[in-house]
């Protein structure tokens, strides 16, 4: 059996190993929910306390960049899901291409983000002495903006690294995508990063537009 090599010694069979990895990643995602949850609680409390300041502050966020990025990430979620489906169907090459497309979309997101950050800083939207907006509570919004998008971007960078590694391994045929839960697990992580943005987008870019 060629599968034998893919089974770590603590597991009896492939099914057990697969089950363990799946539970593992979902448990990890539950952890991540609480990790971002702390920021969401901060956001919710302050938005409840300072509704006007939050609307005024969010109006200054760059909605064009934010929307483009949302579209990029939503698309990448599709490509990464396709990578999983093709992998399961035994299409290693196609699966690899889908992964590459995902990585490209992720990099696109980061490029847009870099432009956006530069603009924000030039615009005086970094909290501190040179901050442009008037009521002090707008700084709270912008503090949360930088931390939330920053932590999200770090997650995305990790995701890009993971997918690239998997792509390289696939190219070397180090493993058969049909049996490799690593691909699926990494893709679940990518989806999670996308879900975070699904919530950051309406919280950071859309308030105060009407």
């Amino acid at each position: 059996m060629t599968d034998q090599a893919a089974i770590a010694e603590q597991f009896d069979d492939l099914a057990q190993q697969r089950e363990a990895t799946e539970i593992g990643i979902w448990a990890f995602l539950a952890t991540e929910v609480l990790f971002f949850g702390a920021l969401l609680v901060c956001y919710a409390v302050y938005r409840y306390q300072y509704p006007a300041a939050f609307l005024a502050a969010a109006r200054e966020a760059n909605v064009v960049f934010g929307t483009v990025n949302a579209a990029l990430l939503l698309t990448s979620s599709m490509t990464v899901a396709l990578a999983v489906r093709m992998g399961r169907a035994g299409q290693a090459r196609l699966s690899g291409h889908a992964l590459l497309a995902t990585v490209a979309l992720g990099l696109g997101f980061l490029v847009v983000k870099a432009f956006e950050y530069t603009g924000d800083i030039q615009d005086g939207l970094f909290p501190g002495p040179g901050f442009r907006l008037a009521p002090p509570q707008t700084q709270i919004f912008w503090s949360l903006y930088w931390i939330m998008t920053g932590v999200h971007a770090l997650h995305l960078i990790v995701g890009i690294g993971v997918l690239l590694t998997i792509f390289v391994l696939l190219r070397r045929s180090a493993f058969d995508p049909r049996h490799n839960t690593t691909v699926e697990v990494s893709c679940l992580y990518w989806h999670f990063v996308d879900i975070v943005w699904i919530f950051l987008y309406p919280l950071l870019y859309l308030p105060g537009r009407s």
């Binding site: 089950e19 799946e22 539970i23 979902w26 448990a27 995602l29 539950a30 952890t31 991540e32 929910v33 609480l34 949850g37 702390a38 969401l40 609680v41 919710a44 409390v45 409840y48 306390q49 909605v63 929307t67 949302a70 579209a71 939503l74 698309t75 979620s77 599709m78 990464v80 899901a81 396709l82 999983v84 489906r85 093709m86 169907a89 299409q91 196609l94 679940l188 989806h191 996308d194 879900i195 699904i198 919530f199 987008y201 309406p202 919280l203 859309l206 308030p207 537009r209 009407s210």
Partner: protein, 93 residues
């Protein structure tokens, strides 16, 4: 190879993608319509639907076993505790 490109095989992912983008546009457009508090509620409701689409269609949670669902539910439940009890303070000050 051919089977892979049959419409039915790719449909769920592509359909989910189209749906997600449409929802995003709806959310964006709705935020320019003055609805007062309704804006935030609409935006978040749409985000919630988008999340469910990603979780159940793209992440294949509906095909997974009971444990992944339990883990996802645990994350949601504990986040709910966090919100509820924190707001039990801020809402009653």
């Amino acid at each position: 190879m051919k089977a892979l490109f049959r419409k039915s095989a790719l449909l769920p992912e592509v359909a989910a993608w189209v749906g997600l983008l449409v929802l995003m546009v709806v959310s964006l457009v709705s935020s320019y319509v003055p609805l007062g508090l309704g804006n935030g509620i609409a935006n978040l409701a749409i985000a919630g639907v988008q999340m469910l689409v990603v979780v159940f269609v793209l992440m294949h949670l509906k095909e997974g076993g009971a444990l992944p669902r339990l883990a996802a539910a645990a994350g949601a439940f504990w986040l709910a505790i966090f919100f509820t009890l924190t707001f039990s303070d801020f809402l009653t000050r």
